[in-house]
């Protein structure tokens, strides 16, 4: 659209700058703007897979070495099991927290909805009077 000089100035300095038109709107007319205040998801559990066990015979290692290796693997298995239990516990707690948050949000929304239906103190007229700089 070709604009007059005045319109172009107003368009650029007020509408484009104010509404950030250079930045596209999110799909469907909006997105949930919570990124800065929503806690980041919990980091994933550290990789606990034990190092691959080589074949002791192939490397000519001793029985003591094999016993030590077995003990090591047993220890690693125990740690893995503990980690799995901890993960399951954390997941269960997260799920419970999420359900509690959703419940609280639903209650808050219901409260706000009820609040919005209360009469407000200021009076009103049905027709807006507008506000414009009176020119002449």
């Amino acid at each position: 659209m070709k604009r007059t000089m005045v319109s172009n100035k107003i368009w650029r300095t007020i509408v484009v700058a104010g509404a950030m038109l250079a930045t596209p709107l999110a799909a469907c007319g909006g997105s949930d703007k919570k990124a800065d205040t929503t806690p980041a998801p919990a980091p994933t559990a550290t990789e606990t897979t034990p190092p691959a066990a080589d074949d002791p015979d192939a490397k000519g290692i001793t029985a003591e070495d094999a016993a030590a290796q077995a003990k090591f693997e047993e220890e690693e298995a125990r740690k893995a099991e503990e980690a799995r239990i901890a993960e399951e516990k954390a997941a269960a707690e997260a799920q419970a927290a999420k359900e509690a948050e959703e419940k609280a949000a639903a209650e808050e929304a219901a409260k706000k909805e009820a609040e919005s239906k209360k009469a407000r103190p200021r009076t009103t007229k049905s027709r807006p009077s507008g506000r414009g700089f009176i020119l002449s």
Partner: protein
């Protein structure tokens, strides 16, 4: 670095500066209490220096002075009402849990309007010699308790800021181009520089509200748009003070009502409608309602 969007538009305005040569603008409108010094501190901020003594009023005829006095008095009344407009809007924004920057700028806009009312009173005094006060009154904004507060705040922001203040900047900008009287030019420039931010406030809040509220906000905005456009059109169509707008009067900051209609129609077509469309808000019959037929109906 991004270019300053105001470069070349706001001229030599120092937004956060102070006017070292500030003098009380309309001292007859003050309380006579110690509050006055704090008031002056507020008024010194964000202002363009007004060369009150450089007025060329003595080159005007008496009818021309009367015409200008009446218009500047009306302007003071409009600016005075705008103080309550932004106050009521602030209530709606607080109720809708608006962000802090939106709230602070809305409340500052109310203070700006006090300064504008003072300047317009002083201009009326220059042309009439009378130290009048704006009549008491309160702005009326639509209030629908049945709708969500976000929609209420968005709708009134659209009316007050996006439509009214954006139009005000358009008409002020065009008027400044005609004005040569140094005092009138500085007053119009000072008001204009504030109105830019008052208007931008609305477009920014609308963007924010759409991001937060999605389609419901867009629907509320679309419902409000015809009422907002009509509200400002009511002001444009209003009867004007008696008296001819001569060439000399024009140099003191006036246009004819017919010229103002064309400016509003142009603003709707070239600024408001494209802006709302860019945000995904349906504009209905706005272009037809305020097209050439309306622009030239006066």
């Amino acid at each position: 670095m991004n270019p300053d969007p105001n470069e070349g538009v706001l001229g030599d305005i120092e937004p956060q500066g102070r006017d070292g040569a500030y003098e009380p603008t309309s001292p007859w409108w003050l309380s006579g209490t110690p509050l006055e010094s704090e008031h002056h501190r507020l008024m010194r901020r964000r202002t363009v220096h007004i060369p009150w003594n450089e007025t060329t009023v003595d080159k005007l005829t008496e009818p021309e002075r009367n015409r200008l006095a009446a218009t500047w008095m009306r302007r003071s009344e409009a600016e005075y009402l705008a103080v309550s407009t932004f106050s009521v809007l602030a209530i709606d924004l607080v109720a809708a849990n608006a962000p802090a920057d939106v709230l602070s700028l809305c409340l500052r806009a109310g203070i700006d309007e006090v300064r504008h009312a003072e300047m317009c009173l002083r201009m009326a005094h220059i042309y009439s010699g009378k130290k009048n006060l704006p009549p008491p009154g309160m702005s009326s904004l639509p209030d629908d308790p049945e709708r969500p507060k976000l929609h209420q705040a968005l709708a009134n922001t659209m009316l007050v800021s996006c439509v009214s203040e954006t139009y005000a900047t358009t008409v002020l900008s065009a008027t400044r181009d005609l004005t040569t009287d140094p005092t009138a030019l500085a007053v119009l420039t000072s008001i204009y520089s504030d109105e830019v931010m008052h208007a931008r406030l609305g477009w920014s809040y609308m963007r924010h509200a759409i991001e937060v509220g999605g389609q419901g906000v867009i629907d509320a905005a679309a419902e409000m748009l015809p009422r907002a456009l009509r509200g400002v059109a009511n002001v444009v169509e209003r009867e004007r003070p008696v008296g001819e707008v001569t060439d000399a009067v024009r140099t003191h900051g006036l246009m004819t009502p017919a010229e103002e209609r064309v400016i509003y129609s142009t603003c709707v077509r070239e600024v408001l409608v494209p802006g709302f469309q860019a945000l995904g808000i349906p504009v209905g019959s706005a272009l037809d309602d305020y097209g050439d037929a309306w622009a030239h109906a006066a």
